[in-house]
Symmetry: C2
Subunit: 222 residues, 2 copies
């Protein structure tokens, strides 16, 4: 397998990240490209979920992936194996991507032949939520073993996301995780949050999430 | 139950965090107080592990706990229920504590009647690893559902910790988690890392970790 290309991004110089993010989003709209920003804690299953989603949608959309990590390329190699265009972004220790860093990634990836770009953000529930990357939609994954109290403890990420994917529902019997409570807590933070309980491992629930994403991309790029 | 006292800490003004941390550590040594900095991802079981450890050691040491969170007090209330002196530190959005913030916490907690202070850092594998808090020892928890590749992806935290607690071993049969691989990857980062596989839920393995901590505290405060 060809080695995944690695790019090092620098914290951007823009004073106003929100304005920069808005500019990126407008340009994506003009060029008919959809950018999804996927966030979560380390180990919640972002990469496995992403691989399932790529498999479901790759015949409909031309997909590209930007894998952001502190320094490793473990995930990017797994994603590249699906056959989609992939780059690894190294943040050089930074705990998140901002709009300028995302734009550097988009340029390096090359979006001219893509419909859907997915940014797998750094595994972290705190910092990525503070920076608008310019994505059209923000999704987060919370996995069952992390506990249903997370919307109480990390409110901002639940507020800024359009979608909450609850992953690893195949292990629900082995954890004290209350699906109804997490819905209640998360929607307290964000009444418009769409919630998809899934198991990326078994595939359960993935159709609903993939359908939602398909609809969003079609609405944006039409 | 009495409400846990909440303090808001500000990012410290010290340019040289390492020097500040060293000063705190020296003062702890003079005053015969042990400070443990406990780090992990959200949802790895820091609070449950801590409650077990408090139960095991509270007859031997006078224990105090500083719970650091972005804004909630969920964990501090659980810890306070064990009967040990507890404060909740709110970081006001910050993803970590530095030495100055830790010192503000120690002052508010009041350490004159304590032997062992435990700082439960913000749930995050990235930022807390970058800041020496002045703790005598650093411990981290990685839980089985997070996956054995984490030392490859978040190297710094494995490098700066003295101890790696591998939590939730009760669910090993339900996850693709290789205990030998995680040992190998973690010790690649840090050959001196002590590793304790435990289940805070069932209590399995907790004796070894508690014994190690007991020994460290006794060596420091004697």
């Amino acid at each position: 397998m060809e080695k995944v290309r690695i790019i090092e991004v620098k914290e951007s110089i823009f004073a106003d990240n929100d304005r920069e993010a808005e500019r990126i989003r407008l340009q994506l709209k003009q060029e008919k490209k959809f950018l999804l920003n996927l966030m979560s804690s380390p180990g919640s299953g972002k990469t496995t979920t992403l691989i399932r989603t790529i498999e479901a949608l790759k015949d409909e959309f031309r997909i590209g992936v930007m894998e952001a990590d502190i320094e490793s390329s473990v995930d990017a190699e797994k994603i590249a194996a699906t056959g989609v265009k992939t780059i690894q972004i190294h943040t050089g220790g930074m705990c998140h991507l901002d709009a300028g860093m995302t734009e550097q990634g988009l340029k390096e990836l090359g979006t001219e032949d893509l419909d859907l770009v997915i940014l797998e953000n750094v595994g972290n529930l705190v910092c990525p939520a503070e920076f608008d990357t310019g994505a059209v939609k923000n999704a987060m994954i919370l996995s069952v073993p992390e506990g249903h109290d997370k919307p109480l403890k990390y409110p901002l990420i639940f507020t800024v996301c359009d979608v909450l994917i609850i992953n690893k529902i195949d292990v629900l019997p082995y954890f004290d995780f209350d699906l109804e409570k997490v819905r209640e807590y998360a929607q307290m933070r964000n009444p418009n949050l769409k919630i998809f309980p899934v198991s990326a491992k078994t595939g359960e629930g993935m159709d609903d999430w993939n359908s939602w994403l398909r609809q969003q991309v079609n609405d944006w790029i039409q």
